[in-house]
Subunit: 225 residues, 2 copies
């Protein structure tokens, strides 16, 4: 998967969320990281060739005043034309959005009054107009309060969102984790990682055995009727 | 009514819609016209004192990629704080939005897929957070195709949106039109305007007479029972 991550944040260097995501994404093969600023948004030729080269386009931003930051809309205005549906069609559009509040506050009657789907609907209409395939948005909620365990989970989920075919089955997730771990073990020669890998592979084998048993039982049952 | 019109358009001078609205608004007492650009959005002191001085705040913009233009969100980020609800509360927030397409395309199942209320929902949540009173948005549809008659109508409706207490009764509209026309006649000494004014006043008197008759009939009916 070739993925372009377009990051819209007025002060990326001050954002612990964006720095965390950046560290994950830039180490990963096939992912291009593009930070929007007054210079980069005007480099139309480069921006359009990045869009052409990549199959999955990600808009990544914090929700600011209930919207994607202004610079993302400026980037859209300067770099995308209505007629670009001829070559953007069939590409995927993903949204990685982080909020400082609990997600449950985004609903009618709650403090923020509108759902995230409603607040992000301009990007939905954009995907529709450009005939792009819109992925379910990827939400990061109250990053500052995540413990180490949850951050590790976020790391894997985020990478899968950038890299894996959607929608993802449980089996695909397993295979993806195993292949990624194998690569990491090869590169790092880290014993702990090797143990984790062995453990994951073992788990998968056990699950496969169980699935096979269930299959045999079902077949036996079917033969009775 | 003291009204601040905040205009967000990347190329105001190229926009016949904005030039049309500007000509109406700047001639009108009590309306302050503020165009957003890279310089003006950073003048925080001035922007905040304009907000303080005015009772009705209008965001005016074309819908670009299904959203208010990026510069409006930049302006919000730079000039408004979450805690500003202490002094923005009870002020009114209006939205003047123009679209190049028919409004009927903005609904589920139609070409643009989302309603304007959904696309503009970030501004709804903003008003809610700041405890401002959100006015129904004022829509200008396909301005380029309006004939002279419709432009005149738009002019009056737009001025009323900026100036008149909301919601507006029919009678308030009439009185407002008469008082505005009287002022114009005083200033311009234009005979045509005088004729229009006479006509409007006459119409209002006839309507009042009819209303009075209806009232008398109703009273008579009530006395029968």
């Amino acid at each position: 998967m070739k993925t372009l991550v377009i990051v819209a944040h007025p002060e990326i260097k001050e954002s612990s969320t964006q720095l965390f995501l950046k560290e994950i994404a830039i180490k990963h093969e096939g992912i291009t990281w593009l930070e929007l600023n007054n210079a980069s948004i005007n480099n139309v030729e480069k921006n359009r060739s990045l869009l052409k080269e990549n199959q999955r386009i990600i808009f990544q931003f914090p929700l600011l005043w209930y919207s994607a930051p202004g610079i993302l809309f400026e980037w859209l205005r300067l770099n995308i034309k209505q007629t670009d549906d001829t070559w953007l069609a069939e590409k995927e559009l993903g949204i990685v959005v982080n909020i400082g509040q609990a997600a449950k506050n985004y609903r009618i009657g709650a403090s923020e009054q509108n759902s995230l789907s409603s607040l992000l609907s301009p990007l939905g209409s954009l995907a529709n107009k450009l005939k792009m395939k819109l992925m379910p948005y990827f939400l990061i909620e109250k990053f500052e309060y995540l413990d180490e365990q949850k951050k590790k989970r976020l790391m894997i989920d985020y990478l899968q969102y950038l890299d894996l075919d959607q929608p993802i089955s449980f089996e695909e997730r397993q295979l993806w984790v195993i292949s990624r771990l194998k690569k990491l073990v090869e590169v790092s020669k880290n014993d702990k990682l090797q143990l984790i890998l062995n453990n994951v592979v073992e788990q998968k084998e056990k699950l496969d055995e169980l699935k096979n048993e269930i299959k045999l039982i079902r077949e036996a049952e079917n033969n009775q009727y």
